[in-house]
Amino acid sequence: MSKVFSFHGGIHPPGNKKRSTRAAIGKAPLPKTLVVPMQQHIGGPADPLVKIGDQVLKGQLIAEPISRISAAIHAPTSGKVVDVAAYPIPHASGLSEECIVIESDGEDRWIEHQGLDDYRQLRRQDLIEHIRNCGIAGMGGAGFPTDVKLHLSEDHIVNTLIINAAECEPYITADDMLMRERAHEVLGGIEIIAHLLRPSHVLIGIEDNKPNAIHALEAVLKDTELNIDIVVVPTKYPSGGERQLIKLLTDLEVPSGRIPADIGIVCQNVGTTAAVYRAVHYGEPLISRIVTVTGDAVLHPRNLETLIGTPFSTLLEACDLRPEALSKLVMGGPMMGVTVENDQIPVIKTTNCLIAATAQEMPLAPPAQACIRCGMCEQACPAELLPQQLYWFAKGREFDKAKHHNLFDCIECGACAYVCPSNIPLVQYYRYAKSEIRTEQRDQQKADHARQRFEARQARLEREVAEKEARRKARAEEAAKAQQQKAATQSDASPQPAAAAEPDAKQLKTAAAVARTKLKKAQKAYDEAVGTNADNLAELEAALNDARSKAEAAEKALAAGAPATEEGSGDDLKQLKVAAAVARTKLKKAQDALKNAEDKGLDGVDKLRATLVTLENKAEEAQQAYEQAANKPASPSPAPTEEKPAEVDIKALKQQVSIMRTKLKKAESALDGCEDEAEIARMKTEVNELKQRFEQATAEFDKAEQALIERAAKSGIDLKQLRIDAAMARAAVTKGERSLSKADNDDERSQIEQELTSARAKADELNLTLSQYE
């Protein structure tokens, strides 16, 4: 036998247990409808898998856990799902939550299920998964999903497994009866849990008011190889509290805010061990539990094996309730349970007791008196808190201080309220303070979250504005740059004499045109004046003459300016070409229009024909003018040597070669992309033709180039060298020009000018020589 230690405080309320242990565990009648809440414990609710109208079998999974701390839920009997909606659940608030309502078909037909042959052969992970799938949750109080606790050996060293069989609260005998009648199931469950957690020893903590249960356990323990000790502890409330039992059996204290596993201990309720046994050996999920139905208002208090989801009323009827005697229906024990108003509330996995109390049994609490600071509550507190201080803090809404006095270590056992001579409902104050603090924390969390989101949004908006601004700036800068560049190219162009002629010619042209228009206007005005015999005839005539002379001057200037530069003539040439092209297009359009008109037999055909003729003439004229102009540049060049045509030739040839190359490439890529066979054949011929032409052009070019080089060689000049020299001379000239523009000293300037002249002369000479050969 292990040594028994003791914990601080505790009380000795009347047990009232014997009345419900006289009868063996009975079977609760199968109710017509069962209401199965989706959340029966702390953690996340399960997610329904069935719809209204579905047929379910007993033991069928009807809701699956969606988070880590959550348990699966199975159909407690066979039947039809008639509703998935909010129903009142066994909770102190009396509020409703989502439930699955099953209408029983009375057959109680099991789904196919079977236990594991030998759980020791299985991987631990798989075994725990099996237990999770069976929806096993702690059956002592909080209903913590068991599989989570079974994982504890992975990150904690578990030395001791404690089986909580104390069942310290008055009235409740469910665990007592379970151990008396099904000790082997309890032992089997312990073996499975010990297999998973691998503790060095197992302790069963049991109060000395259950001698029959102790005998039963001792009887089955003879067969086990495990190191299991039954520790009989003196009856004292609340020795069944997890921390209190640990203190009793090991003298260790679980630190505040930690779990027992942190000091190497795991606790499991006896009811849970039996459920684990049935899940592993028979494959039965947790769909029923033993509920103690007791109190003076029932004639036959006893324990009933009850399906989860059975309404309280069914249990009370089964134990012959005297409705007229019932004053208070309590779910759970008299110390920690809560009063319920509605007897349709269902049994859940953690419902261990139902007390139908008469008014004599549980009288209304006498009105609370003022606290007299007697300190009895401190003496009774099993958690070694200062109930009196906590009471004052809760009452004064000083929740922070209450928290600092370890309010959250309070197990709400009710020992302090039990001993309070002033009948102050202390536990209610603690519950109130706890829920206030929790709400505050939740609100604070929400506020922090909202602040974060608000700030993120604010930052985003600012960033967007800044980005917009930056984009606008960039655009403005780009525009300014483009403007500058434009101005620069214009100013760059003006100092170059050749380029300067172009705007000059343009300007001259515009001036001439303006002069002509003015002249025309003046003429018109004069004619009109002559017609009407106006007074200001002389004046107008003078103006007309003036305009005429101006126009003539402009024309002359234009005539002088236009051919003055080669560039100008080139420009003219281009213009002529464009004019010719425009004329041709107009002609074509006119022809089309004529055709259309003729087809439709319209009236304006003759007119169109006349236009066409004029257009034809115009086009011809333009073409001729262009041809003339095109031939011209050759003639006015200073040295019409015989080499000149060669130059034209070689340039043209070069161009032709590159055009051919491009065409060839295009044709080839088109060929690659083409899929139609006929098309391919056509293209192939085309490509071949192009290739031939390209080769021809290349050959011609080569020939011409060769001829040039040969000719140069004949005169004893290396063409390449000549080219380089010419380029260098040109560079020297530009350099000189630049330094000239920079020089400010007159002497320096004259010197540079001299150098520049010589460089120019050299460059001209070299260019001339080069032009002879190219």
Binding site: Q369, E436, D443, F454
Partner: protein, 198 residues
């Protein structure tokens, strides 16, 4: 004479040394911004509703730090006012009715078949809790909604409702027990009646 002089010199030197140390510390450990603003901001409920007349909770926190009244926050209600009074050591005053009244917490709900997808509510939401795109139906992410009301006004088809948050068993609070302190011996009978009433 020399003793007096020594004492004066020593005191002067000490003053100079401490002056330098304090001067350095004031530069080196300079606190950016007003720390009280953060503390006030932490107390405000962060609904960002603007009912106080400021564009968000932080601007109001800054205003309070600058001397504005502490009773302009309807979502926070008396709890916030008490906390602010406690923090700033001023007297707790009742909520200024001009800025609205304390209402139960609620969340926005968009009647989705009436939504025309104008995105106006999305632009109004201070915490980006509304999901949607132009000409697409919008919806409120309930877990992110602060219940600030700001999306209701811009909606051109009035399809946004503010629905009070329902209490679930998870958010349910134990009620405060009736105070025993109002009882005196002669009140016993009334006390019983009072405790029986609920």
């Amino acid at each position: 004479m020399s003793t007096v002089l020594t004492a004066v010199i020593v005191l002067f030197l000490l003053a100079a040394i401490f002056g330098i140390v304090l001067g350095y510390a004031s530069v080196r450990f300079k606190v950016e911004g007003n720390p009280i603003v953060d503390q006030i901001d932490a107390i405000l409920p962060q609904t960002q509703c603007g009912q106080c007349g400021y564009p968000g909770c932080r601007p109001y926190a800054e205003a309070i730090a600058g001397g504005d009244a502490i009773n302009k926050c309807p979502p926070g209600g008396q709890t916030t006012i008490d906390a602010l009074a406690d923090l700033l050591d001023v007297e707790a005053v009742p909520l200024d009715a001009e800025h609205g009244e304390e209402k139960p917490r609620s969340v926005a709900y968009i009647r989705e078949d009436e939504c025309i997808g104008c995105t106006k509510c999305i632009q109004a939401c201070p915490v980006d809790a509304i999901l949607g795109a132009a000409k697409q139906m919008h919806t409120v992410i309930i877990s992110e909604c602060t219940g600030c009301d700001l999306c209701v006004e811009p909606c051109p088809v009035d399809c946004i409702d503010m629905i009070p948050i329902e209490t679930t068993p998870n958010t349910w609070k134990w009620p405060e027990p009736p105070s025993p302190m109002q009882l005196i011996a002669t009140d016993r009978g009334r006390g019983v009646a009072a405790s029986e009433a609920p």
